[in-house]
Subunit: 429 residues, 2 copies
């Protein structure tokens, strides 16, 4: 497609709008995430000689290859910054560039924003369920690839996870790495007590003993012996990874307290998600922190979002699709967030008094003009979370937030629709 | 953990076994996939100076850092080659190496084999549902990262997908790239007919016209005009991406045939998975090929597998875990496949006459000794598929295949279990 546009001299600017059409049933809101890698990608997007050789090898014809030579991204981008709470239909990102460039970026932009936003939104629900208890990302083992594990560690950190077991992600994004002990470590020693002693000696500042390799009750007792003997009561923890976590955590707390280890933390893990965590919290389980893995790492109940990248303007002309059930709204957009909620409007509308525009310029002429720390995204998420209606925060059956449409956007939709029908584009199927 | 093992001089060989504990409810079998990247990873696995610097920056202590210096993978690996049909409990891969090395590889091996196997297994079901019709991988836009898209293209090719829209994956793995036309292409032109003409002229050997941007009936008529005028009837196709695919494909077929375009193919896409495809095929929809995206690309109904990497032997001693509901079977293993099904046995058992061992040596002393083409994996899948009972092939409510355990493996489990209980490791919770 990109080659075809360029062969035909179609270099006019196009605006594409990337948004999520509808929310998965168990989501009351989304958390924008993934912009950072999109900006890196767009800044580096260029068709090089290697690419042309590869395309030739794939059998593309000379005219197509020639048309792509020299292509690089020269456009403008506006986007919702990371950590922001967003809703269905609100653009996460808009690209304005010569149409071939904007078209070529589609797959990567959709891929990155969809996945990171899906994970940040899932992790935010886990954060809500945990109600202030600690959270550690344990997902790396079963994410959909290594790159996915990095995205999960970063996205979960933005919504309040305290640490990750992914050492490479910790290094890359400046997160806290949290080492864990596996059942295999215990099994490699002649006895559980010996394994606990060895691990505690070698990890004195990060002693979390996994107590359920053989039997949790005996495991807790052995952990108490080691923690007491080495004087690690103030910093150590125990981890329970199976069985009835509510009952086992209560028993462990009782045993730890009876031994005077009132500061020793209890960490729970094993197939946890927001539903399981909410139940444990509701049951008053004395768990200090949760290790959350697979179900967050693949966003198990909604592993993708209904994201789209739609042409909304070409060569100054607003554009829309009429396809049954998938019609789009024409024109470059802005979202105005005010005390009475969000309104999707046109980009060139005046900002209504008392509202904040959600999309900000992040790239101009192919150069990024937006850089921020993970802490900034984290703070943005915290403050946005406070603005959400309580019903959108529910773990089960959350309510969607209604988003309005500005009169100008409504009027443009009506007029473009009429024009298309006038051109014979929309007889009923 | 790895550092702790090395600090304590625990260099004895350990065997870890990687397997899927239980199948997701809608899977009658799995397709082994992901070995290639595991072998590449293990061959390159070494702790370098950069890694040590990074760990120091993360706050690890000197003794830990020193213990990791010089570590590289020197072990042996046996594995089920790619494309093989496997079942719950059957090892996909076994690593035997000094315990620190084997432990360090856990996360990567689990990550890669779990995801690739999940996708190959999902794609295999789609392939079964399509019953010989063409399949094209359209998943890149919404996979969980770019690396994931490459894995999806490769895994789906092994189970019989004919092409991918992921040009980079096509280049990397030698697959057929299949360009597609988006709705935005149509919208960028003044009229649909003009867009079709331009696309057909620029892609004469790969003309697939997307007919539902405005209205499918009108779109098919305009496609017929262009295909006829340019004489592309033998090679061109039309694609329908929305609406009632069964009804629209029937209408399109009638219109194409009436215009003499009996060879022009109909491609359907839009939220397809094995269930939707099975329904379309059962309804007799005249669809020649399916473009399958998101639901395959994230394995939507089972985005992860219950995979584990368990220590089964250390320093010559068989090892098992007793943890409630998650007990493991000790000892290095082999799977014997014969006419009466699969039997999990011990690796050092004699191969029962008439059976084939599923695990083959793939690495020795840290060097890979197994390399094969994607075509070999593809052929292996085809022949394994023919051996499955018909009930395991069902799209809805597939039956699991029962896997036996050899008397020697049973006996070892009983004896290790007794020994652990004798050492006070397994009082009831």
């Amino acid at each position: 497609m990109a080659a075809s546009f360029r062969r035909r001299g179609m270099h006019a600017p196009a605006t594409f709008s990337l948004f999520v059409r509808a929310l998965p049933s168990e989501r009351g809101f989304l958390v924008a995430c993934g912009l950072e890698s999109c900006l890196e990608y767009l800044e580096g997007l260029a068709v090089g000689d290697d690419d042309l050789d590869a395309l030739t090898a794939l059998g593309l014809d000379d005219l197509t290859i020639e048309a792509l030579a020299g292509l690089r991204f020269t456009g403008d981008v506006s986007a919702v910054p990371e950590g922001r709470v967003v809703h269905a239909g609100e653009p996460l990102l808009e690209v304005t560039a010569p149409i071939a460039e904007a078209q070529l970026a589609e797959t990567y932009l959709l891929n990155q924003l969809t996945f990171a936003t899906a994970i940040a939104s899932k992790a935010a629900r886990i954060r809500l369920a945990a109600g202030g208890r600690g959270l550690v990302d344990f997902a790396f083992r079963r994410t959909q690839g290594v790159e996915a594990a990095m995205t999960v560690a970063r996205a979960s950190a933005i919504v309040g996870f305290a640490a990750t077991s992914d050492v490479e992600a910790a290094r890359r994004f400046g997160l806290r790495a949290s080492g864990t002990m596996a059942h295999s470590y215990v099994e490699a020693f002649d006895s559980e007590g010996e394994a606990f002693r060895a691990f505690a000696e070698d990890n004195p500042t990060n002693t979390v003993l996994l107590v359920d390799t053989y039997d949790a009750h005996t495991g807790v007792q052995r952990a108490i012996d080691v923690i007491t003997r080495l004087g690690l009561g103030q910093t150590a923890g125990i981890r329970i990874d199976s069985g009835d976590l509510a009952a086992l955590s209560r028993e462990a707390r009782r045993m730890l307290d009876a031994a005077g280890l009132t500061k020793t933390q209890i960490i729970a893990s094993g197939g946890l998600d927001e539903y399981a965590i909410a139940d444990l919290v509701a049951a008053g389980a004395p768990i200090d922190a949760f290790g959350v893995g697979t179900k967050m790492g693949v966003s198990e109940d909604a592993p993708s979002l209904e994201s789209v990248y739609k042409l909304v303007a070409y060569d100054g002309r607003p554009v829309m699709k009429l396809q049954t059930g998938k019609a789009t709204t024409p024109g470059p957009k802005q979202v105005f967030r005010g005390p009475s909620g969000d309104v999707i409007g046109l980009r060139d509308e005046a900002i209504p008094p008392g509202t904040e525009p959600l999309l900000i310029p992040v790239m101009e002429g192919g150069r990024r003009i937006h850089r921020e720390s993970l802490d900034t995204a984290r703070e943005r998420f915290e403050s946005d979370l406070n603005l959400l209606p309580e019903t959108a925060l529910h773990i089960r059956n959350p309510a969607r937030v209604t988003v309005g449409m500005s009169p100008a956007a409504e009027a443009l939709t009506t007029s473009v629709h009429k024009k298309l029908i006038g051109r014979g584009h929309a007889s009923e199927v």
